[in-house]
């Protein structure tokens, strides 16, 4: 392990082994994920497709260390995440995973620039302002730095969320339907951003409904009723 960056040279970045996730919904048990096995190599762009309610978001939340599996092991860069405490989980989320939520999850009262600065602020980094600005310029929002989410279109908000995920230069970006609610032109713009990140060597896992978008991946997985198929 490289002591300075905390990064290793493991070929396999994400490794899911026999993952199950069961939600207790009243007296009803919802099996959102049933025995998921997945290995993601560094630099891969994996697309995941699947109908609504098939467990895509659930899977991504587990990969993003936002949720714990009911059963099975999740190794992030060779380390079993079950052994992480709050500090380690937060640190991993903050520095090594960029998450683009299905519903953006931006802070409504803060500007685009402040939203993108957030993870850098918690990481205690320097030069926050210029890094955040650079990330926003990359997604084509150089002219919208001081707009609040309410003053931005859906596509622009999505791009702020993407900028926030990539600004910290994470090991992996997990994106939950980043083109979901957008028309095809805006969707294409956003896909170009992901394409570029992939070309720069970023590991990306992308959830989408759109087969065209899914074709961009180096690998396409299908999630069906909580089960993964190639």
């Amino acid at each position: 392990m490289n002591k300075k960056t905390g990064k290793t040279n493991n070929r396999i970045l994400l490794h899911l082994n026999g993952i199950r996730k069961t939600y207790q919904d009243g007296i009803l048990k919802v099996h959102a994920l049933k025995d998921i096995n997945l290995e993601a190599e560094r630099g891969e762009l994996i697309s995941i497709m699947g109908p609504s309610g098939s467990g895509k978001s659930t899977l991504l939340h587990i990969l993003g260390c936002l949720d714990h599996p009911t059963q099975g092991q999740y190794y992030f860069d060779g380390e079993n995440t079950a052994t992480f405490d709050d500090r380690q989980l937060t640190l991993t989320r903050n520095k090594r995973i960029g998450f683009v939520f299905q519903s953006f999850n931006l802070l409504h009262r803060e500007t685009a620039l402040e939203n993108v600065s957030l993870p850098l602020m918690y990481a205690g980094e320097s030069g926050i302002q210029s890094k955040a600005q650079e990330a926003l310029e990359k997604v084509g929002l150089g002219a919208r730095l001081n707009h609040r989410p309410g003053q931005l279109s859906g596509g622009e908000q999505q791009r702020v969320a993407i900028a926030r995920a990539m600004v910290k230069k994470p090991d992996v970006i997990l994106a939950d339907e980043p083109t979901g609610n957008l028309d095809s032109q805006v969707g294409k713009n956003i896909m170009r951003v992901f394409q570029q990140m992939h070309e720069e060597g970023m590991t990306i896992i992308l959830i989408t409904h759109n087969p065209e978008v899914a074709q961009l991946g180096t690998r396409l997985l299908k999630l069906h009723d909580g089960q993964l198929e190639e």
């Binding site: 939340h61 936002l66 949720d67 709050d86 500090r87 937060t90 640190l91 989320r93 903050n94 520095k95 998450f99 939520f101 519903s103 999850n105 931006l106 802070l107 009262r109 957030l118 993870p119 918690y122 990481a123 926030r164």
Partner: protein, 371 residues
């Protein structure tokens, strides 16, 4: 805070007022009942042992009598208390002279009026040098006014209700509240009855212990007299005032309790409103402790700003009260203000820390799913 300052203000002002009654003066008085007033068991001779007990203090005996007086110029007649004493009275009791002076030695044809009587006999002012006639037990006398005193009992009347520990004394004082005229009396006869004496104890001698030893001696001689130090009376009144402020302080605590429950509810609701924001911060790398400390810091800044604003408002309210209703200035004592701000901030912090901890422990994904 205004309440606190007003209460403290009363005490500060009170002590200033009360000091004027003379902290080094001991009063000796007959226990007030009809028998004593008529037969007069206390006589001029007794002043000798009193003086001995006071270790050489200055002493002035006094004798009180009802009298009728008249100003022949304006045909005004009044009924009042006539207080016979010696010229030393003026050297013993702190006098609040508004005109002229106290009677000098040997001025048997002079008198000193209190302001109330002066106002009625000589409504146009300048009472000094004027003449009036009084009809006392020895017959009609013609007296010249030497001076006018502000009512020496004014201060005491204001605070006597607070003298819980000396109600007999209070009764006495009330009897002496009659409007009075001071004249020089004849105290040369050893068996002439007197009603009491005032004694100024020498410097470095404790008035309270002097009063006690005089009291003891009076008991030994089987005399129905009570002796009390005016400083003791001041202490009692201050203690009474303390009790009153303590009761007010209790009210304060109740107010504080009610407020803190309100603050708790408000901060619970306020933090609940921010669950979404806090969840986003958690997913973006804020640790639990950072969330709690952020909320706490925000709350501290708010409470402290609020606290200083409150001090400002309290000063304003105090000033208003002072100009409109109070006869004393509210005292904003620094330690009391600090206590109030500290309590406010402490309560705020307590009311924040629990909901903040709760918010930080919630699963951000669940919150974001709902939002």
């Amino acid at each position: 805070m205004t309440i606190m300052a007003v209460l403290s203000g009363i005490k500060v002002q009170m002590y200033e007022d009360l000091k004027q009654v003379g902290l080094d003066v001991v009063n000796v008085q007959l226990v007030p009942n009809l028998e004593n007033l008529f037969i007069g068991p206390l006589v001029t001779e007794d002043t000798q042992w009193m003086q001995e007990q006071s270790k050489g203090g200055l002493l002035a005996p006094f004798r009180a009598d009802m009298a009728v007086g008249a100003n022949l110029e304006n045909q005004q007649t009044l009924e009042f208390l006539i207080l016979e004493t010696t010229h030393e009275w003026g050297n013993i009791v702190p006098l609040n002279i508004s005109e002229g002076r106290f009677i000098y030695k040997g001025e048997t044809e002079f008198c000193v009026l209190d302001e109330w009587i002066a106002d009625r006999f000589f409504p146009e002012g300048n009472a000094v040098g004027k003449e009036l006639f009084i009809n006392a037990s020895e017959g009609i006398r013609n007296l010249t006014v030497a001076g006018v005193l502000k009512d020496p009992f004014e201060v005491r009347k204001k605070f006597d209700e607070l003298d819980f520990a000396g109600s007999a004394r209070s009764t006495l004082n009330r009897m002496l509240e009659f409007k009075s005229i001071y004249i020089l009396g004849d105290f040369s006869e050893p068996h002439e009855p007197i009603h009491g004496a005032v004694i100024k104890v020498p410097k470095d001698i404790d008035a309270l212990s002097t009063a006690k030893s005089i009291q003891k001696e009076a008991k030994r001689r089987d005399l129905p007299a009570i002796a009390w130090a005016r400083s003791q009376w001041v202490d009692n009144v201050m203690r009474g005032a303390d009790l009153t402020t303590q009761v007010a302080g209790m009210l304060w605590i109740v107010v504080l309790l009610v407020t803190s429950v309100m603050i708790l509810t408000i901060s619970l609701v306020a933090i609940r409103e921010r669950y979404y924001e806090l969840a986003v911060r958690r997913t973006e790398g804020a640790r639990r402790l950072q969330i709690v400390s952020q909320l706490l810091l925000e709350n501290m800044i708010l409470s402290l700003t609020g606290g200083f604003l409150a001090i400002g408002l309290a000063h304003g309210a105090g000033y208003l009260l002072e100009t409109r209703y109070l006869s004393w200035s509210p005292a904003f004592l620094p330690h009391e203000m600090a206590l109030a701000i500290g309590l406010g901030a402490g309560l705020g912090a307590l009311a924040t820390i629990l909901p903040a901890y709760r918010a930080a422990s919630l699963d951000p994904v669940k919150i974001l799913r709902i939002a």
